[in-house]
């Protein structure tokens, strides 16, 4: 490497790092500082460090506010995320597998509907109408089914692409050894899908956990509130308590952050699949 390119490397790199500090890190530092302030300090919204770091006090205050609604919300969000993602993984894996393996004249139609599910915005009030007709509106159960449905298309695309990389000979070998279709899928194919299953779990968990619009429509009321809804209600109810609002933001950011640290590679794989070969 020539001297000039080495200097260039450093100059560009340091410029980019400085820019990233201002553009990306300052907002996060702001959240942390605000979350540790007293109410009066926080309402001034400046970057002064708090006189006393009230981190722990604010944390307790947030968890206790409104009869501990945030704890309820965390429980709701956890149930909603875990169950809807399980449904997505199992159902989408089954579709992605058969869709990739079996060629029939229905395939173009199924592909079309999968794509439509990805593009078409869900019709909100008619969905509520359906949920009411089934007698499950205002239950967490309906939220699970709705979130799972809206996530199906994307998951199917990921599974279908991955199944294509598993050699068909494997299926035939297992069949010759006497495995039925169900054994073949659950005992032979599904274990091989592990990498893409992890990807789907991580990507969709983040999506469901951070979703605001669907819980807003389909999970009304304090008992069903998810973390995103409590955050929203927090700011409309208590404008004077900016410190607690930011502590709430911080709390809600932790689960995706943890996922990111542990599953960085799978997230990247999921979001970039198809970028290369289309």
């Amino acid at each position: 490497m020539s001297r000039r390119t080495r200097i260039q490397r450093w100059v560009v790199g340091i410029t980019a790092i400085l820019a990233s500090v201002f553009v990306f890190l300052v907002p996060f530092a702001f959240v942390v500082i605000q979350a540790a302030k007293s109410p009066a300090e926080a309402s001034s919204m400046n970057f002064d460090l708090p006189a006393h770091w009230l981190f722990f006090d604010n944390l307790v205050a947030v968890l206790q506010s409104n009869d501990g609604i945030i704890v309820t919300a965390f429980i709701n969000s956890t149930i909603l995320t875990i169950t809807s993602v399980i449904v997505m993984v199992v159902f989408a894996a089954m579709v992605g597998y058969v869709l990739q393996r079996k060629r029939t004249r229905w395939n173009p139609w199924i592909n079309f509907f999968v794509l439509a599910g990805l593009i078409v915005p869900p019709a909100v009030v008619p969905t509520i109408w359906v949920l009411q007709g089934l007698g499950i509106f205002k239950t967490l159960f309906s939220g699970v089914l709705v979130e799972a449905t809206f996530g199906l298309s994307f998951s199917i695309l990921l599974f279908r692409a991955f199944v294509a990389t598993i050699p068909r000979e494997l299926d035939e070998a297992a069949t010759i050894d006497g495995a039925g279709p169900i054994r073949l899928f659950f005992r032979v194919v599904l274990p091989l899908l592990r990498p893409v299953i992890v990807t789907v779990i991580v990507v969709q968990s983040v999506a469901v956990f951070n979703d605001f619009q669907n819980p807003l429509y389909f999970l009304p009321g304090n008992d069903l509130a998810t973390v995103q809804l409590t955050l929203y209600n927090f700011q409309s109810q208590s404008l004077s308590q900016f410190n607690l609002l930011f502590m709430d933001i911080l709390l809600i950011t932790i689960p995706p952050l943890v996922l990111y640290i542990f599953f960085n590679r799978q997230i990247v794989a999921g979001l970039t699949s198809g970028a290369v070969k289309g």
Binding site: F113, P126, T149, T253, L257, V268, G274, G278
Partner: protein, 307 residues
């Protein structure tokens, strides 16, 4: 995403290896479709088809009175609602365009040998995973016209201090900026994957032939990252046209109706109890998204470059 290739794949289905001698019962059971189809039909297809009918009614969830196209007439005659229609296009194209340009630039930077690459990749991507509502509130505070840090800094530098979210002429663009800040990480990631996949020999060959950096970008990297570009455009357009969370978190469509889009109009009409009008908004959004996405994805498919 694999979305782009679907028409191609489905047409060129290869014959099964076992040909015509297929057994009556396939080892790939069709009933594997049924659970997913059940969910899809009940919670997606039925509401979508029902929306076409209910958009033509005055509707209270319990009884619906057929009123023809009145809801659509209201939508397009009422300037406040119609504004949301126009804003949806502006917002969708601006955010998508900005994500393509910035994402490509960042991807070029992050695939070149700069120092601190790992850190930069992580920091650019992280906002993607953060709650949209949280991001909205943070920027609302940072860009507060009176107390906000950004305007305080601008004041010290004797620069104009705009009312980011409070100026009707700026609110929508400020939100678009925040949206790009949050979403550019995905675009960057997809472009990076596309650029890394370009065979190194092509780049070396171009260099050998004396291509400048610009020429290398223009004639090798750009055409060969077309699939990535297609994915970014499609994903960011779908997201941008349907955008709701970030707008609701920052301005609620305000000041006045200055940053309303169709998705926020749908919610406002729903809140006000005008379910028919709200559903008409949904149908309009459906038509807008389809009318844009179908030609765009056709175009992108056609121009795809084979490696």
């Amino acid at each position: 995403m694999t979305t782009i290739n679907i028409p191609v794949q489905s047409v060129s289905a290869p014959p099964r290896p076992d040909g015509r001698a297929r057994k009556a019962r396939s080892i790939y059971p069709s009933w594997f479709y049924i659970p997913a189809i059940a969910l899809y039909v009940v919670f997606f297809a039925v509401p979508t088809f029902a929306s076409f009918y209910f958009s033509l009614t005055r509707w209270s969830l319990f009884d619906a009175t057929f009123i023809g196209f009145d809801n659509f007439v209201t939508f397009f005659q009422n300037p406040q609602l119609f504004n949301g229609f126009i804003h949806t296009f502006e917002y969708g194209f601006v955010t998508s365009g900005a994500k393509v340009v910035l994402g490509l630039a960042l991807a070029l930077l992050l695939t070149s040998p700069v120092i601190g690459r790992g850190y930069l990749r992580a920091v650019v991507f992280f906002p993607v995973l953060v709650s949209t509502i949280g991001v909205g509130f943070v920027f609302k505070s940072l860009l507060d016209p009176f107390h906000g840090v950004v305007n305080a800094v601008l004041g010290v530098l004797h620069l104009p201090q705009p009312g980011w979210f409070t100026d009707p002429n700026m609110a929508l663009w400020t939100i678009a900026g925040v949206d790009v800040w949050k979403g550019v990480g995905i675009a960057t990631l997809i472009f990076m994957a596309g650029i890394v996949a370009i065979p190194q020999e092509y780049i070396e060959a171009a260099r050998m032939d004396g291509a400048s950096s610009w020429r290398l970008f223009r004639s090798v990297i750009l055409p060969l990252s077309r699939p990535a570009m297609g994915t970014v455009i499609i994903l960011s357009l779908i997201g941008g046209l349907r955008s709701f969370d970030i707008i609701w978190a920052t301005t609620n469509g305000g000041p006045g109706f200055a940053s309303d889009v169709i998705a926020s109009v749908i919610y406002k009409q729903y809140q006000a109890g005008f379910f028919g009008l709200s559903t008409a908004g949904n149908v309009i959004l459906f038509l807008v998204v389809t009318a844009i996405m179908v030609p765009v994805s056709r175009f992108i498919n056609r121009r795809e470059v084979e490696l």
